[in-house]
Structure formats: structure tokens, C-alpha cells
Amino acid sequence: MTPPVPPTPAPELTWEPPHLIPNFWWRWATVLGLVAYLAYASTALDLNWARFVHGLPRAWDFISRMVPPSFERWELIVSGGLESLRMALISSFIGVVIGVPVAVGASRNLSPWYVYLLSRGYIAISRTFPEVIIAILFVKAFGFGAFAGTLTLVAAASGFIGKLLAEDIEDIDPGQVEAIRATGAGGMKVLLYGVFPQVLPRLVGLAIYRLDINLRASTIIGIVGAGGIGSALFHSFKRYDYDFTLAILLVIIAMVMVAELVSTELRRRIQ
């Protein structure tokens, strides 16, 4: 039986256990570096045990004020929740509508370089900034309320769909596209018959996934004034109505969980 790897020389009676980082100096440098960083970071952030312990009675006070949750002002919860739902639905739809051409533009196999760069740039900007930041900017630009919120989610969704769909488009079978081109069809028809049939299942899955994400996002961008149940949440904090806060939180958690279940189930059925 030939050994696949050559053995090391004759064994001594001592054995050094293998380390993650074999080189002695690198290993200790990393360890010390890590310890130093932890020490620096915790002092820079002013983290210490005393502050933590100090916070515990406040935590207890907070929790006791949250429980039991108060659904007294349930109309606010319902209206906020519905507004979040509407924002999520509309923005997902428009997001897909915009996202598809963006995706086509961002696919190297379908577009000229200037369109490609432009689309990729748009995708980069919309995906780099967290939704909340986009929300703040839009609120400042367009005023408080669901309009800014919907636009925020449209921007985020179009970038999301654009990027992921573009990845899929770049992966398609070029043979099918070629065949359609060979019939003399041009531009839109090639897209319709050659490209879309291949990416449609994934697009539907992405749309459902994005709807789920948008619903989550729509519940919190209200914190910065962009509509939805988030603003009710924020105001309850400011007014110390912590039992109302808990009620809203529970509703948000329920909405998110239901959305996730429905979304996973639907996507499972489609694939």
C-alpha cells in the first residue's frame, strides 16, 4: 500500500500539538494583538462592568413597565401595521418593475459598457446604504410619511432585485438566446423569448423574498418618520409608554414571522 504523503522523520518521545497558526512568532503576535485590540476597543467605547451593573436595575424597571403589554390604543397599531403592509406591497411591486430593467442593464452579456457601469453604480449605491439612512434622506427631501417610506423601499428593492437578477441573467444558457437571435428577432423579443423564460422562476422567488424583507424594513423606517408602524413604536418610547411599546413589538414580531413563513412556503412551492 503506497502512502499518499511522505512521513515525517523518526518520532521523538515529545509531541507538540498542532496549532492554528504554526509559526510561533505569528501566533503570539496575533494573540497579543487581539488582546490589545480588545483592551483598546473596550476603553474607547467606555465599556466596563460598572456601567453594565448600573444598568441592570434600569433594565428591570424597563421590563416591569413593559409587562403586561397594553393594546388599549389598538387602532394605532392596526393603522400603522396596515400602512407598513401597503408600503411593503407597493414598493415591492414597483421595485421589481424598476429592478428588471436595471438588472438587464447590469448584465454584462446583454448591455453595452456604459449602461452596465451606470446600472452597477446604481445598484452599488442603493445596496450599500442601510434602508434607514436612505429613509432619512428621503424624509428630509419629501417630507414625513409613507411617501418617503415607499420611495425608500423602492430604491432598496430595485437595487436588490437588480443585483441578484443580473447575476442570474449572466448565468443563463447563451445557446437559447442565440437560437432566438438566429430567427431574426431583435432586442425586446430576444429578451422576452430567450432570456426571461430562463430567469422567471428565480425572479418570482426573489420578488417574494424581497416582499418579506420590505415588510420587515417597513416596520422600522417609521422610526425616522418614513411611515408605518415604526413611528408609533418610536413615539411610545419617547413617551415612556413601554407597555404600548411591547404591544407594538409583539405585533411586529408576529407580522414578520407570518411573512417569513408564507414567503418560505411560497418559494418552496415554486421551485
Binding site: M1, P4, P7, T8, P11, L13, T14, W15, P17
Partner: protein, 275 residues
């Protein structure tokens, strides 16, 4: 040494894997257990160290009732039972030496295991065992870089570094080629003889069983239907165990290299309850 009394195992699905098995092993015997797939060989051997919990029955090792022990004492008892597996079951990402030393886990503290500071005698024993199984110099190789036969040798070393009182071997050669299988089986039986400990070996190759074991036990559908010397395994026996077949090719041990004979190993063990 080892007494198995009325061992019964019923799985939650209702399957009766073992229907009351009795086995007694005295002295340093190599016992081969043969039988078709699903006959309960794996279940039987795992009931001895309670990797599978028996439904009824007793297992007594060296006077200690294994089946009645609580978890902590069971673990101490397991240290004395070395197990060798069909799929080798080495921790792939660890080196050969770490795998062999893991046999001593029952003896060292968690802290030592964490820092991998095993006692010097353990390391020395590991080196000796690696040399004995023919893997000298391989101690720093990663387990997943070895061939099947080499991995099984590490498995053997791991079982033996426990300094066990008995070897439980579950189909050690099913994943190996015929030549390697003989080498591995010879290694196991030689080591068991050197340390004067008994070994129970599950094996489906009847000719190998006859060539290397002192005693053959046949299991069929959860019951022991044969218990005797290798040369007593006849066509009728195999019919009882496996069902009707032309057994003429299977019974004679194959003498390819001319080194195998039909006789059992040189040192005769104390004969167990052979009918």
C-alpha cells in the same frame, strides 16, 4: 470475562433487532460474529458498551453489570472497551496523533483535552502503537489525507491506547480491499493476542472469519443460531444463517498467497461454551 445474558433490543419503530442473545467469553478469545445485514450484529456489539441501549438483558464485563451503570460510571467503564468502526470514524480535520490520543479522553481532564497537554506516558504509548501498526512517522499527517487501510490502523491504535480489557470491532474491513482486509484483521488478532484480551469482531466475510477467529458466532434475525469452532461452520450452518445458497466457494479459506490455512491461530484459547 464477558457475559451477555438474554440481550433484547426493540427499536422505537417496533423493529425487534435482538431477540434474546446469550454469549459468554472467557479468556483472550477472538470471536467472529457473522450474519446477513440486518441480523443485528451492529446492534449487538453496540449494546455491549451501550452506544445503543438494550431493552432487556444484562451485559457483565469482568464482574461489573454494565447495563446497570449510571452515565458517569458507564463512561469510566467505556474506557476499558476499545471500539473499532467500519467507517473508521476518525476526526478528519485532526492529525493522526490527535486521533490516537483521543482514545485517552476518558482518562484526562477537560482542561488537558482543551490544551492538548496529554501525559507523557500517553504520548509515549501513542508513539509505540503507531509504530506497531506500521504508521511510524505519520503522527503529524491529517487524518483525511490517509488511505482507508491507514485510517483503520489509526482507529486500531486509538482503541488500543485506551488499554482496554476487550475489543469491540464492528465490520473493520467492509470498506477495505481484500488484501488490506487480511492485513488489518491479522493486525487486530495479533494485537489482541499480545495483550491477552478478547475481541468480538463483526464480519460478513465468512472465510476471513474462519481464518482468523478462535470461535464463530452466527446471528440471524436477532438470534444466535450458531456458536462453535471455525472448522465446524458447514453449509447447513450457513443455510441457517444466510439462507439457501451454494456455499462451496465460501467455506474454504482462500489460499492466494499460500500463507493462510484452515487452522485457527497458534495459541489455543480457553474453550468457551461450545455445544
Amino acid at each position: 470475562m464477558l457475559q451477555v445474558e438474554n440481550l433484547v433490543k426493540v427499536y422505537p419503530s417496533g423493529e425487534r433487532a435482538l431477540k434474546g442473545c446469550n454469549l459468554t467469553i472467557e479468556g483472550a478469545q477472538v470471536v467472529a460474529m457473522i450474519g446477513p445485514s440486518g441480523s443485528g450484529k451492529s446492534t449487538f456489539i453496540r449494546c455491549i458498551n451501550r452506544l445503543v441501549e438494550p431493552t432487556e438483558g444484562r451485559v457483565v464485563l469482568d464482574g461489573v453489570d454494565v447495563t446497570a451503570l449510571g452515565m458517569a460510571r458507564l463512561r469510566r467503564m467505556r474506557r476499558q472497551m476499545g471500539m473499532i468502526f467500519q467507517e473508521f470514524n476518525l476526526v478528519e480535520r485532526l492529525t493522526v496523533m490527535e486521533n490516537v490520543l483521543s482514545g485517552r479522553l476518558g482518562y484526562v481532564s477537560f482542561l488537558r483535552a482543551l490544551l492538548r497537554r496529554y501525559p507523557r506516558q500517553d504520548i509515549a504509548a501513542a508513539f509505540r502503537l503507531l509504530e506497531r501498526v506500521g504508521l511510524a512517522g505519520y503522527h503529524n499527517n491529517r487524518a483525511d489525507a490517509l488511505s482507508g487501510g491507514q485510517r483503520q490502523r489509526v482507529g486500531i491504535a486509538r482503541a488500543l491506547v485506551q488499554q482496554p480489557k476487550i475489543l469491540l470491532v464492528d465490520e473493520p474491513t467492509s470498506s477495505l480491499d481484500p488484501k488490506t482486509s487480511r492485513v488489518i484483521l491479522r493486525l487486530i488478532t495479533e494485537l489482541a493476542a499480545e495483550r491477552e484480551i478478547p475481541a468480538i469482531i463483526n464480519i460478513h466475510d465468512v472465510s476471513l472469519a474462519q481464518a482468523f477467529a478462535h470461535r464463530v458466532v452466527g446471528l440471524s434475525a436477532g438470534e444466535i443460531v450458531f456458536d462453535g469452532a471455525p472448522h465446524q461452520v458447514s453449509a447447513e450452518t450457513l443455510n441457517a444463517i444466510y439462507g439457501e445458497e451454494d456455499w462451496s466457494r465460501t467455506i474454504r479459506p482462500v489460499t492466494e498467497e499460500g500463507e493462510e490455512t484452515a487452522d485457527p491461530p497458534a495459541t489455543p484459547p480457553i474453550a468457551a461454551g461450545v455445544p
